[in-house]
Symmetry: C2
Subunit: 569 residues, 2 copies
């Protein structure tokens, strides 16, 4: 492609509304243009990237045996009413009425539609398993769309849905999708991690998220660098260190801590490590009052608390409730002397000589010890997020925490949808059985942003070769002034096309600096510069997007050199 | 692809709601499944056809120099309010409110969005011309969706929009799109015709429709078989034959024609040719009463009437108005003795000795002649549709009428949208000018139905090779019982794949009749049958989908033979 026949539209500065680096760079490079809140046009340059990602996904999905189809974006309400999700899905679902006042939605996902197809089309166990997928525009009415295509309202998604006679077959396809996703993200060239995840609102049993690792990621992931273990920190199980409590080092004391309410404040005020403080949280559940105990540097994990049967519907206690129960304002609570049910996190049991609230405004207790100043808690659970330094749940190392951008999610839905929609088949003995179901999503457009979050520098985007809008940029100096330059540049360009190199020839009448800046901003991985001085010696200048400096190559060998670079990137 | 790993789902009978043959066959072949009114899922088999059409369109659009982008499906109301189309477009446009009660629509077309991009991105004449296109899901809320994907609500469209400094540039791109569309429909293998068309609600000047010729087509097209001329019958100009009126053959007579009101009734009652009768239509415009005269076998063309300035807002007169003006009920009107303004179609001037209403209930006049019984009309216009047998407007032959399915439409929009949205550029002298604009649509999903309307027989679909879901079907007899058959079929299948033949191997445990019927129904152009008897002599049976009878081929030569067929189809 010649730039003169293409549409480049780069910006020096990103619009003020962009916060995330990928959002800024996508706008500056002209990959996307904003149409409205959470709505973006994919400009020709950006669409080339998106299509390359689509192509990789399609190839790998086909290789896995999945069959591509295309369901309507607009879905009748009736199907969603069958599963009860018409009401449950909430305002993220864009609801629509047609001219006859019939209810529809712009599909945020397609479990209902595909289950409807399955129940009408699949009669016998002989037809199973089946795995259908589509690559399609979806819409989710985010309350606050932001970060460009990272959290847009209209976006491109690959969604797949599999149907099975039993769990064993579902597990087999689930594993195949796990492998397929790994191949897809590897081929794209992303640093990613498959992470055990909560099944959340989608229901079902097993679930994995695929995260592109990047500091700006919204999700915190606990992983073990010495094993395969990775999980969303909300889901990762904490492991007791197994440390026994130390002997009391001195008598418990009540110390004035005026206006020091949080653990970090108290720790600093008293000059003790934060891990030496105890966090006491007051909650209520079923009209019962509880104090939850955590080490001062740990965070409560609400999901874990809700899995404790008697705390399933817990709420944080109000200041009024706390004063009524403990006669003490929040900030000075502690388990000693409190007449409340105590629920302790497992890590608390290993604490000794710790600091906690005195249940008296402006005072804390120090040198507190279980068994001496208060009973050892009986209700002990895992109710916190893991932190870096925790033992890995697989026992194979020490956890680290990183941040990730979710680009894929696979679920074993089991029979949740199939049962409600009566998606059944006849088994070998002629009996009617409910199908097992899996679903598998990839945020196609989001991958572009995630890849940029992971691959950029001060000059702009550094696209992985597999999804770069062009593989090679040819920049001739004085293309419009020098016949020799123009002729050689055109020849090289033509030779690239014939070799199958995806090449962009910058034939604009622009200063070299502008052309270099554009090539770097839009992230073309390889660059050849044709200048008069080099050409006289038969040389061109090559620079890889990540290279420290350019180097000179014989013009005659440049195609072979680039071909080698493309193969071995 | 092996049928066992694919998803075939054919039906013996089409669902009752399908009227059109393409709709019936698409449902029977399992290309599509209905989700709701005007909403269809493209099943894996149908999607293969759609994707092949998409691929041809994309290749040819790229070859023409157009640049692919992708605009959002959801569009903010504000843009449509700028052009006034938010109100004008009518209930075909699906309007939507998001969670913040902001107005949007599911884009039925994208003139506003692209003009918004153009006005923000195009600054200088140096950037022009530009032609952007997308292949995208559109939605039009048809009042009565029918005929399957032919008139669906959600459908796939290729829409392109070009921008220019002047009309000459627009005309150049318009011609290039005309040529590109011809190449696209030719490559797909359709019998089509480019037809001059009315610009209608889209506005602008020149416009052509591309029609696939088929008896079931909704549009009537006048064409000249001895020249290039073709036009929608609403647009085709009628040409006077140039016949002079005959001398009166007898005196005018008033004849009782009880209950004979329409021209055909009167012609039959009196035993005269329909062409000998005169049709008199009463209309009003601007409080003035008119009688429009047409030959009895001709049809009024309202579009043409509205182009006559004083009839621009005409309406058919009510029975009350007619009685008030002529003192005669409808059905017996005529120009003789009527005190009304007369507007005659050009063909009427060539009539003599004709029959018309007597302006008296139950009576008609015969042997009526201009110049004798009434004055020669002064207001003479072309106000009828052309009919077969008319002279071609290009003077190069006699018109015929055929029916067509519109699959493409190109428009010179000129500055209609650009002016309202202030899409301007700076010309060479630094002056601000409004861009000229063209738009170019193809109904991608509709092409599948149109191709089937044009290519089918009693057994089912006969897909053109270029868009067939598979090029070749291999049907082994007793695949599951005979090791020899299975081994040879597998070998042949593998060899096809390696040669790049898009092949479907029917490895089901089905009766041969079922497999043959499926291959014919889904319209695979070529078929090889492997049976034991033939195999013993090293032969396989070949049959082209349109062949009268099968023939035997040496198995060894079958790949070469098929390759030849694919190249020369």
């Amino acid at each position: 492609m010649r730039v003169s026949q293409f549409f480049l539209s780069t910006l020096k500065e990103a619009p003020a509304e962009a916060e995330l680096i990928s959002h800024k760079l996508m706008l500056r490079a002209g990959l996307i243009k904003r149409l409205g809140s959470g709505l973006y046009t994919w400009m020709p340059l950006g669409l080339r990237v998106l299509r390359k990602i689509e192509h990789i996904i399609r190839e790998e999905m086909n290789r896995s045996g999945a069959l591509e189809l295309m369901m309507p974006a607009i879905q009748p309400a009736e199907l969603w009413q069958e599963t009860g999700r018409w009401e449950v899905f909430g305002p993220q679902m864009l609801k629509i009425q047609d001219r006859h006042q019939h209810d529809y939605c712009f599909g945020p996902t397609h479990e209902e539609v595909i289950a409807d197809i399955a129940r009408r089309e699949i009669k016998s166990y002989r037809q199973l398993p089946l795995n259908f997928y589509q690559i399609q525009t979806k819409f989710r009415d985010e309350i606050r769309p932001r970060f460009g295509v990272m959290r847009a309202r209209e976006f491109m998604m690959k969604d797949a849905y599999s149907f099975h006679v039993d769990l064993a077959s579902l597990e087999q396809t689930y594993q195949r999708m796990h492998d397929t996703y790994s191949r897809i993200f590897s081929r794209i060239g992303l640093n990613f991690r498959a992470v055990a995840a909560d099944t959340g609102a989608m229901g079902g049993s097993s679930s994995h998220e695929f995260h592109v690792l990047a500091e700006s990621g919204e999700d915190a992931i606990a992983f073990c660098p010495t094993s395969d273990y990775a999980a969303n920190i909300e889901l990762a199980t904490t492991m007791p260190r197994g440390n026994t409590r130390l002997e009391p080092s001195g008598a418990m004391q009540k110390i004035a801590t005026p206006d020091q309410k949080s653990c970090p404040e108290v720790a600093e005020f008293l000059g003790v490590p934060l891990e030496q403080t105890l966090k006491t949280l007051a909650v209520t559940a079923n009209d019962q009052f509880y104090l939850l105990l955590l080490r001062g540097d740990h965070q409560l994990n609400e999901t874990k608390v809700r899995k404790i049967p008697f705390l399933a519907n817990f709420e944080l206690a109000s200041a009024e409730q706390i004063i009524a129960e403990i006669a003490c304002p929040p900030g000075y609570l502690g388990p000693v002397t409190a007449k409340a049910k105590i629920v302790a996190d497992k890590a608390v049991l290993e604490m000794s000589n710790f600091v906690c609230g005195a249940n008296e405004a402006g005072y804390h207790l120090t040198q507190v010890n279980f068994g001496r100043n208060l009973p050892v808690p009986e209700l002990v659970f895992d109710i916190r997020n893991v932190v870096a330094g925790d033992l890995s749940p697989d026992g194979k190392g020490i956890l680290e925490i990183c941040r990730g951008i979710e680009v894929g999610h696979i679920f074993q839905l089991r029979t949740k949808y199939a049962e409600k929609m009566q998606a059944t088949y006849l088994d070998e003995s002629g009996q009617t059985k409910v199908m097992e179901m899996g679903c598998y999503g990839i945020g196609v457009s989001r991958i572009v942003a995630a890849a940029i979050e992971q691959n950029h520098d001060a000059q702009g985007i550094i696209f992985p070769l597999s999804i770069a809008p062009f593989q090679l940029s040819i920049i001739p100096i004085n293309y419009h002034k020098s016949d020799m330059i123009r002729s050689e540049a055109d020849k090289l360009y033509q030779a690239c096309l014939e070799t199958g190199i995806d090449v962009l020839l910058d034939d604009r009448e622009e200063r070299p600096g502008v052309m270099f800046a554009d090539q770097e901003l839009i992230g073309i991985p390889h660059r050849l510069v044709i200048g008069e001085r080099g050409l006289k010696e038969g040389l061109v200048e090559y620079r890889g997007r990540r290279d420290e400096a350019p180097r000179m190559l014989p013009l005659k060998e440049s195609i072979a050199f680039i071909t080698q670079q493309l193969a071995g990137y």
